[in-house]
Symmetry: C2
Subunit: 337 residues, 2 copies
DNA sequence: CTGTTAGCGCATTCAT
DNA sequence: ATGAATGCGCTAACAG
């Protein structure tokens, strides 16, 4: 209930010197007698003095806190990005507030409010599958708090973004399936609200076109990324009069779920039906058969996003740049194809 | 660089009323004319006014921020606890600062400092495998900031703790192995610094004893949880003149790694050698063969830890209680045994 | 119901 | 090299 905090006042009183001198010593200001400085620092150490960042934040209008908002924490994808981002932020002296929205737009809006009142200096975001309105994010821009998007970006906002070449990744994945002799390739696509869904879908379509394989709308299923929906759609695909001989899934969780379902149907992977995922999650290497997947440079994504954000933070609002960094994916061929 | 913030002053000026009235309206105080209240709230909404929590924190000496420190984010275990904790904290109006220490004591100490200066109201912690000195955590107690440990607890600190019955979980796991006819059961144990290691080891030993199976020290390998060490030790076990017919691993990542290594040796699981893990990670269900594991109620752990913490926060320091909540584990029998 | 005032802990002028 | 004074945005105690 009652927190006890050591303040500059306490130290000043104990040492019988002025608060300003203590403050100066603590902030590394040069104009302090070396002996008094040592005294102050020693006492601060002894008493576990920690600056009250709320006070400093109030004065400087800086919190040294960066916010990160991710849509979910279920696969290894976002946690890994968070780790990398946190590491990079720490190097620059920033703490992070992490929030995950559980794929809920409402939670995302709520989290954004919390971030705002926490006086964060900047924000990196990957939106939920439900997010169609961006007012809760545009507020940050208006207030002079820079935003950087990663992975799931907002097309209409002109801010820095870190993405991977989704189109290219999808194209390569499908190209690979075709090269292994597959002809009826289904695509378990993501919701249209996400740009990554559209880009991966386009990569899929163009790869088929370039190989003179007709697009069969029945083989393209757009779903909302709910884990429990995968079963329905994969089963549907398998029960088609002319079932697919391969599935390119929007992400690894979907692909992994698909593998499990296909196995219960007694089909052989990849002989009867091949699978490719997207992202290179930890679990993709564990599943049997191991999953061929379009690996994303997750650590790099987190790192670059933070770097770009800090650049923005250090720039004046009028000098903000809105560059988009596109990173390359890497097709990892395993036993599911 | 320059953040623009709407303040109570701005609203007061625009509406030509006093700051206190604005403040009252914004805090839901009753003594405000309904019409002026509406005016104020509308303008606040329109201008995206957000309270400056730094200022409030400075006055109330409360931040409404809870800190969570976890040792790693590699398996699904800690992320899932974080999700549950965050959910529970949000219900009570708390934001969370999450830090993961990458199993490094030094990082943990650093993170603790950050937490301290962020004026958190309370902290839930699971320590790193390296943590032997607890001064950086005791500071919180001294400052009147409550701590709750979960999973990897500090024995010597008298604070609330949330743990699972590690001894019982281990005992049941080994008992199960014995029932399937295994006689030479190895244990891939954790470092002695962690109480969970000791408890799981004791459960293992007692289960053997109770079944009149002699303890073979050669079959007990204590390691530091580094992912790359598992291979060395499992290979060592397999090359023993009298190799084990089962392995009980301290956690699922180790068990999963073991399965992969054993498969490369051409041994059959569970016929030649059975495996049991601990925790019930997401990946345990995916690996082939699927892993028998002592599942922990992760969501419950996170939830209970936050609940206990908030109770402490709302208590005066002198009324702090140090209850330990022990949750039950659940042996999930799959194909690795 | 509304306005005035003090002060939270600290950095930062301005004095000395 | 040090001290005193100001104010960051806000709440709460005090006056009307």
């Amino acid at each position: 209930m009652k927190k006890h905090q050591i303040t500059i006042f306490d130290i000043a009183k104990e040492l019988n010197i002025s608060k300003s001198t203590v403050s100066r010593a603590l902030t590394g200001h040069p104009n302090v007698n070396e002996k008094t400085r040592k005294q102050i620092l020693d006492l601060a150490e002894k008493w576990d003095y920690q600056k009250n960042m709320s006070a400093i934040s109030l004065i400087t209008n800086k919190s040294n806190i960066i916010g990160i908002m991710v849509p979910e924490f279920l696969s290894s994808y976002f946690p890994n990005i968070v780790i990398a981002a946190q590491k990079e932020a720490a190097l620059a002296g920033y703490t992070m507030i992490i929030s995950q929205s559980n794929e809920s737009y409402e939670t995302e809006v709520l989290n954004a409010k919390v971030m705002l009142s926490s006086q964060i200096d900047g924000l990196i975001v990957s939106i939920t599958k439900e997010t169609l309105n961006y007012d809760h994010l545009k507020v940050f821009q208006r207030k002079g708090i820079p935003i950087v998007f990663f992975n799931r970006v907002c097309e209409e906002m002109i801010v820095p973004k870190v993405i991977v070449d989704d189109y290219d990744g999808a194209y390569k994945a499908v190209q690979h399936l075709i090269q292994t002799g597959k002809k009826r390739i289904a695509h378990l696509a993501g919701p249209n609200s996400l740009s990554i869904s559209k880009k991966r879908l386009n990569g899929y379509i163009d790869a088929l076109k370039d190989n003179n394989i007709p697009i069969d709308e029945d083989l393209i299923i757009s779903y909302d990324l709910s884990p429990n929906k995968v079963k329905i759609y994969v089963t549907h695909l398998l029960n088609l009069p002319n079932p697919p001989d391969a599935i390119f899934a929007i992400n690894d969780p979907a692909a992994i779920e698909a593998i499990q379902i296909i196995k219960t149907h007694g089909l052989k992977i990849p002989e009867d039906i091949a699978i490719v995922g997207f992202s290179g999650d930890y679990a993709s290497a564990l599943i049997e058969p191991s999953l061929t997947t379009v690996a994303q440079p997750v650590s790099e994504i987190g790192k670059v996003a933070i770097k770009m954000l800090i650049e923005q933070i250090n720039r004046n609002v009028e000098d903000w740049k809105a560059v988009t960094t596109m990173l390359k994916t890497n097709l990892i061929i395993r036993n599911s194809t």
